[in-house]
């Protein structure tokens, strides 16, 4: 037993599993990368000034009429097909009525009992304790079309949170951006693996979305957001317990942590003989806890009804088959093909996928780098820097083309690995292209043999005892002289060439 910073009692994870079976359901919202919103022609650019991308339709002004974005329907069908779903022959939009200022219309245009895609599955590769992987099939209940909400800024109170705020300020730029909500069926029978499977599912769903090219797929910018439904049932009962829905889970790591936290919290509540309240909970990335949100409305409280302003969507079978022809390669087949072509070990492949760097490594190799060089920079250098700064590896600001260019300079002897790291410092600081960083920071390797030779002579003269040892055949002592030369050259010399010079001069 332990207690969270917010006072929730948490049962030790092993004890949770001894007494309960977890069941989870994952809802992932994918913001599409269409140029315009779902039902109007407003642009969808991220980060625009507040309320500059709005019109009468997305502001819900009287008399405004929505019209469906064809590209968004196409993206929805492609996502459905990639998830092995059936595509509806005929479906409608529905109004989901609720009073909350993030939707100016007082309803969200969504789909209710007629989603565009339904009954699919995705095979998720999950790491096992022995270093291998196993496949878990996650059943997809539905993928439906809807629109995003505005963004609220809560003013007053002490925390900037909705509780205790004096008033709120709303920006509707995001209201009406096309969203696809992907809902799994309850995932059961996982036991201790549940948190890992949740993370692997969201990670691999994200990769699929990237391969489809239908979204920016940036969790840090909210273009992919996960809600985690979790419940516990007494071990072996086969029942489903009361669930909570945790929102605001906006990183892969948090998906795993949120599942684990709710399992431990539920077990404590149930262990005291109390029951779980069916409610929405908010995940707090900084403190790693969930807190209670509003009580979850029953579906009937949303008073869904068919949207009268939009006619039904009936994708022709010809269109669906044509879109089926645009499906990206099956993820497992792709992994096998890339591993074969790159010559990576199973462990190297697994780490690359785990770091979210598969596509980055692939592009870096396509840009000319050797597979092991591409892997070394992304998994060694970039993964560490991404972790240090808490951003996704793809969002660092260093591109595959940058990495390939820097490696080409290393291969040509223009940079050492150490200098290359300094080039990455510059790239991360936004100092321009690799060439510009090299020039601005003066990072090129000194290939002037005269300058190198002089530095070696100087080091020998200043370290006569070490020089004598090397003359006597103790080659290992050369390290000290090489270090002195590198220091003199401020690191901008090729250590291998320095060693050659030292040994030549003292042989």
């Amino acid at each position: 037993m332990s207690t969270s910073t917010t006072g929730d009692v948490l049962v030790d994870y092993d004890e949770v599993l001894a007494a309960y079976d977890p069941a989870m359901g994952l809802e992932v919202h994918v913001e599409l990368n269409t140029a315009t919103k779902m039902f109007c022609g407003c642009p969808t650019e991220f980060g625009a000034e507040p309320n500059t991308q709005v019109c009468p339709t997305c502001l819900g002004l009287p008399g405004a009429m929505p019209v469906v974005n064809a590209k968004a329907v196409e993206s929805a069908i492609r996502i459905g097909l990639a998830l092995n779903c059936d595509i509806a022959e005929w479906c409608r939009f529905a109004r989901k009525n609720y009073f909350y200022p993030d939707m100016p219309k007082n309803f969200q245009t969504s789909q209710y009992d007629e989603p565009i895609a339904f009954e699919g599955w995705m095979d998720v590769l999950v790491p096992t304790a022995d270093g291998g992987t196993e496949t878990v099939r996650v059943e997809i209940e539905r993928a439906h079309m809807e629109e995003d909400t505005g963004k609220s800024l809560h003013v007053g109170g002490s925390t900037g949170r909705i509780h205790g705020a004096d008033y709120s300020l709303v920006d509707y730029n995001r209201a009406g951006i096309p969203l696809i909500e992907i809902v799994t069926k309850p995932i059961t029978g996982l036991g201790a693996q549940a948190p890992e499977v949740a993370k692997a599912y969201v990670a691999q769903l994200r990769e699929l979305i990237v391969a489809l090219g239908v979204s920016d797929a940036r969790m840090d910018q909210g273009s992919i957001r996960a809600d985690v439904n979790l419940s516990l049932a007494p071990k072996g009962s086969g029942a489903l317990g009361t669930r909570t829905e945790t929102k605001n889970v906006n990183s892969l790591r948090s998906v795993e942590r949120a599942v684990r936290y709710e399992m431990q919290r539920h077990a404590a509540v149930l262990g005291e003989g109390r029951s779980i309240l069916q409610e929405t909970r908010h995940w707090h990335e900084d403190t790693g806890v969930t807190t209670s949100g509003r009580e979850k409305s029953d579906a009937e409280d949303y008073r869904y009804f068919p949207e009268p302003d939009l006619v039904p969507v009936a994708p022709s079978r010809e269109w669906v088959e044509q879109l089926r022809g645009t499906m990206p390669e099956n993820p497992r087949a792709r992994l096998a093909r890339l591993q074969e072509s790159w010559g990576f070990t199973d462990l190297e492949m697994r780490d690359t996928v785990g770091a979210g760097a598969l596509g980055l490594v692939e592009e870096t190799i396509a840009a000319g780098a050797a597979p092991q060089s591409a892997r070394k920079w992304w998994l060694g250098e970039m993964a560490r820097r991404a972790n240090d700064s808490g951003v996704e590896i793809g969002a660092l600001g260093v591109t595959p083309q940058h990495v390939a260019r820097v490696q080409a300079m290393v291969d040509a002897g223009e940079l050492t690995d150490k200098l290359a790291r300094q080039v990455f410092d510059g790239l991360l600081a936004g100092e321009g292209t690799p060439e510009e960083v090299v020039a601005a920071r003066g990072l090129a390797v000194v290939s002037d043999e005269g300058a190198l030779s002089a530095a070696v002579d100087k080091a020998i003269a200043e370290n006569p005892a070490i020089a004598d040892k090397i003359r006597d055949g103790k080659v290992a002592a050369a390290g000290a002289l090489i270090g002195a030369v590198m220091k003199e050259m401020r690191g901008q010399a090729d250590a291998a060439r320095v060693k050659e010079l030292v040994l030549e001069k003292l042989s």
């Binding site: 507040p50 309320n51 500059t52 502001l59 009073f99 705020a165 300020l169 509707y172 068919p306 006619v311």
Partner: protein
Amino acid sequence: MPEITRDEVEHLANLARIDLSDAELDHLAPQLSVILESVASISGVAGDDVPPTSHALPLTNVFREDVVVPGLGAEAALAGAPESEQQRFMVPRILGDEQ
């Protein structure tokens, strides 16, 4: 025949954030029932050959191309707002103390 109970009206009023007194509930619930019954009488006219429908037009797939159309601009968008601040719509506190 559809009937709407007093409890249902109270629940709907709550969802719609409308504060109704007991007297208003007593007064409104029977009236809403009458309205529902009147609308439902349409079902009696439609024969078995008339399927339920949500739209008057026999159309599907009315789409637009994914092409940007200039919107209102922030100044025009906020012109009708009762209050605004930081180029955003200002709204009263969202959660009450009791929530």
